[in-house]
């Protein structure tokens, strides 16, 4: 039995994949109405920061894995020391939990990253001015080393004054150059304990306000050599860091044609949701195959173009989600809907949709329309959106 710590949509979709493999995922959820807790037969309620809850949960699991990066490394190491197979392990997961450690490790590996440095707790102002001068001036990007996601914990600073509030908050920070961005890409791979790595086609990810709204597979017009470079880079990072399970490498493609690593995630990732229908093996099945040390599955595309769009919660009011699904299914019988069973809050990811086909513009428009129709309230997602030039 595989145990997954965290009861969100990643665990929910991993449970679907586990069922096909003759398994049933055990889930450690904080709340009984967490997305995965609503659907998995074997749900434990407890905190991922409580070692006793983790111990009870892990008992009887063949392997423990994660829906998020929030379990403290000390607790993971404690479980491992007690004989629980934890995949990925604490030593790998650290680089998905701490952006400073990740940047240091990738720099040491010679992996391309934006220019960056740690900001000291004292004298950060002077460091910031010096760093900005080094990279051609403000704006620069500030990042909390831990806990950020979906645009949280990331700031665009136009001056030292801009950074004051964050610097004063006492969180551990790094500063990075603002990259001249053509677009964002993601290279998703999976690695097994035996060491096999399988790479999915490289995708383009479109962000809005720091939140991923659209993923296009394969990345349109990506130079084939550059795609292989991105896959090789992800395979090398997975191998050097000893990752087990899915590794998503978020990349910047710069206007100069460079690839730079932005973030790492060591679990099924939003940039891989398209694989459920769009690849021969979904990233959720792949993650299970990896942590179970099964040979990995075929990562081929199931259609020439696959587009995933996130469904974000809108303002209250308007049609209910059930009515919206009716209208959408009548308008497009082929679009695939994934709803996470979440309470709607504005901007929260409450589901995603996937469209497959032959023509990029058509498939993008179908996915964008589906996501917009499913959005509660009056939200809009522009299918012809230009990616923001900041992170």
């Amino acid at each position: 039995m595989v145990g997954m710590v965290g009861g969100g949509q990643l665990a929910r979709m991993t449970h679907q994949a586990a069922i096909a493999l003759g398994q049933s995922l055990r889930v450690l959820a904080v709340n009984p109405d967490d997305g995965a807790a609503l659907v998995a037969a074997d749900t434990h309620l407890g905190s991922h920061t409580d070692i006793e809850a983790l111990r009870r949960f892990a008992k009887g699991c063949d392997v423990v894995t994660f829906d998020h990066e929030l379990v403290p490394g000390d607790l993971i190491r404690a479980l491992a020391a007690e004989g629980v197979p934890v995949r990925p392990g604490a030593e790998a997961l650290r680089f998905a939990q701490d952006k400073g450690a990740m940047r240091e490790r990738l720099s040491a590996l010679g992996a391309p990253v934006p220019r960056w440095r740690r900001l000291p707790s004292a004298g950060a102002d002077a460091e910031l001015v010096e760093f900005a001068a080094l990279v051609g001036g403000f704006p620069v990007i500030g990042k909390s080393t831990t806990g950020g996601y979906d645009g949280r914990g990331v700031w665009v600073w136009d001056s030292v004054a801009d950074a004051t509030a964050v610097l004063d908050a006492g969180v551990e920070l790094i500063v990075e150059e603002r990259v001249a961005l053509k677009r964002e890409l993601a290279a998703v791979v999976a690695r097994s304990p035996w060491g096999q790595v399988a790479a999915y086609p490289v995708v383009e990810t479109v962000q809005e306000g720091g939140i991923c709204v659209e993923v296009i597979a394969p990345a349109p017009g990506l130079d084939p050599d550059r795609a292989v470079t991105a896959q090789e880079l992800a395979i090398r990072i997975a191998t050097e860091l000893g990752v087990v399970g899915v590794l998503a490498v978020e990349l910047f493609e710069t206007v100069d044609g460079e690839l730079l690593v932005n973030e790492l995630a060591m679990r099924p990732h939003n940039s891989g949701h398209w694989t459920i229908e769009g690849a021969r093996t979904s990233q959720f099945e792949q993650h299970l195959r990896a942590v179970l040390d099964y040979p990995l599955g075929d990562t081929s595309l199931a259609a020439p173009v696959v587009v995933m769009a996130n469904v974000l919660g809108g303002a209250a009011g308007g049609m209910g989600i059930d009515e919206r699904v009716h209208h959408l299914f009548a308008a497009d019988p082929a679009v695939k809907v994934h709803l996470y069973g979440k309470q709607v809050r504005p901007g929260r990811k409450i589901g995603h949709v996937t469209a497959l086909g032959d023509d990029l513009a058509t498939v993008r428009a179908r996915a964008a329309r589906a996501a917009r129709w499913l959005r509660d309230g009056e939200g809009e997602i522009d299918p012809h959106h230009q990616p923001a030039r900041t992170h």
Copy 2:
């Protein structure tokens, strides 16, 4: 919330589909280790022949549907009378529960069926001799009107003496001509309460000892006009009988090129398991869309050739299923495995595999190999098997 009566693999796979739709299937299972009970968060334990268990189960469900045909019509009518939406309803389901009633109704509709008659409880011998003379002599096919599946409740009689034991058992019987069979086909459709019907491509089903071992989509070499005839027939039956949900129409294709209806099933059916990866909408999602009165999903093929092979339990001994999965995944990273979480018994369906591709012979061989490798013990499934000439 959708409630499904029965905790077998059909409910298990319907639960997977429900999760994507933002739902969680409620399951009424007899045993806690039934396939669906192992994976669904909301499992009730109880008998499908106990009206009180059914009432408790149905409370709070938006609609109740079925994993099997074993709920007595009286109980379904009682639930419906109490205001529970039951889909399909008792009046439709009757024709999937009683082969005599089905044959009468289809004959009245002018739907093509094998020549048949009911055998009376007294004087059956004489009826049998007369019927055999009418259809060109023995052998003829005896069928129990209720309860038969996977070859049970079906007999080939070479003489009256052959039939004696069954006639003496006192079960209600029909007798049918033995059809000069080219092969078996299945036309799977779904119908919503609103009346929309969606038809999947017609498939070939290959039986061994009365058990389906292989399904090929689309049916190889099937005349396109005949395929449309089969779909029209299934649509007409679904509509005339008022079916809601998936309807599988099992068909004989005779050596003379006729299509005759063999059996009906009003639920997701083994002949539609290929749709999970092989069609844009799986039959499980389609069944849910139908019973929820959502517009139905796209039934297009996801690949030119899709082959599903059932995994049957073998004799005890040999490798365990986990080890078999390892070897299979290493040999064929693209084959998709579905295991039902069942205890292995010889001949029992414990899972299925699906292969997709462009070349019929290659895809059939891959599916057959996968099913054979997963079979415990020493069982063999011949990929070049000729369909049996009896039912």
